[in-house]
Symmetry: C2
Subunit: 110 residues, 2 copies
DNA sequence: CTCCATACTTACAAAAAGGTTAGTACCCTA
DNA sequence: TAGGGTACTAACCTTTTTGTAAGTATGGAG
């Protein structure tokens, strides 16, 4: 729930602390090519609960992976986008996609 | 605890189901270049509990990412190694390491 | 015949993650 | 002045994950 303080130098652990869990990478990949408001993210990730979405966005923001832009309007308008550090998680998403596709291949031919 | 049945086609989800959690990728990266017996893995990952190590190895084995080799000796001798499918998780470990290193850079210059 | 080493199991408990539901604040519009 | 749309909070509960501690099986060495 709070800002992550990194454990002593296992890069896997570091990455898991920042990006682990069911939703963070899904959120990041949803922001890959457009900044979106909360309501749009909700629509893009239909099965996430509102609580988790907001909570995870908050953590990602606190860790400088996502930036929150408040337009100060009423009704509220807030948009989220990846920071430069956050964009660097995208190759990881790519690796995961590739692993998944390889895996399904490999399993079928078994 | 049981063999994973894949959810309908989100590659991130697929990969998380197979490799998510605190230990699986650590185990996989420990087996990257040598097949090891349980006791050796325990030494290599000192802070994993025996139960988790065995449990996660079992799941990885059931999902064809790790192979269990039983030498049928007494006292028991069992070794674990990555399958071809398991080796394909290594680039993912690489991406995670790179992300972590980038991240620490980016954070420092902030 | 007792003990040892190794892999593994089981029962239980604690902690973390995720989900549900109801509510708040804000100003605008009707 | 009542209601609507949007982002967000809070209290509570369930489920999942992880950890702890004790115990099992095996055959050979002493």
């Amino acid at each position: 729930m709070e800002k992550v303080e990194l454990s002593p130098r296992c890069p896997i652990r570091t990455t898991l602390e920042l990006l682990g869990g069911k939703w963070r990478l899904v959120i990041i990949s949803s922001l890959a090519d457009q900044q979106l408001r909360l309501s749009a993210l909700k629509r893009k990730i239909p099965d996430i609960s509102e609580k988790m979405l907001i909570q995870e966005l908050k953590i990602l923001t606190e860790n400088y992976l996502v930036e929150r832009i408040n337009f100060g309007e009423v009704p509220p308008r807030v948009e989220y986008r990846l920071t430069e550090a956050g964009k660097k998680a995208l190759p990881l998403v790519g690796s995961m996609a590739e692993f998944a596709s390889n895996y399904e291949q490999d399993i079928r031919s078994l």
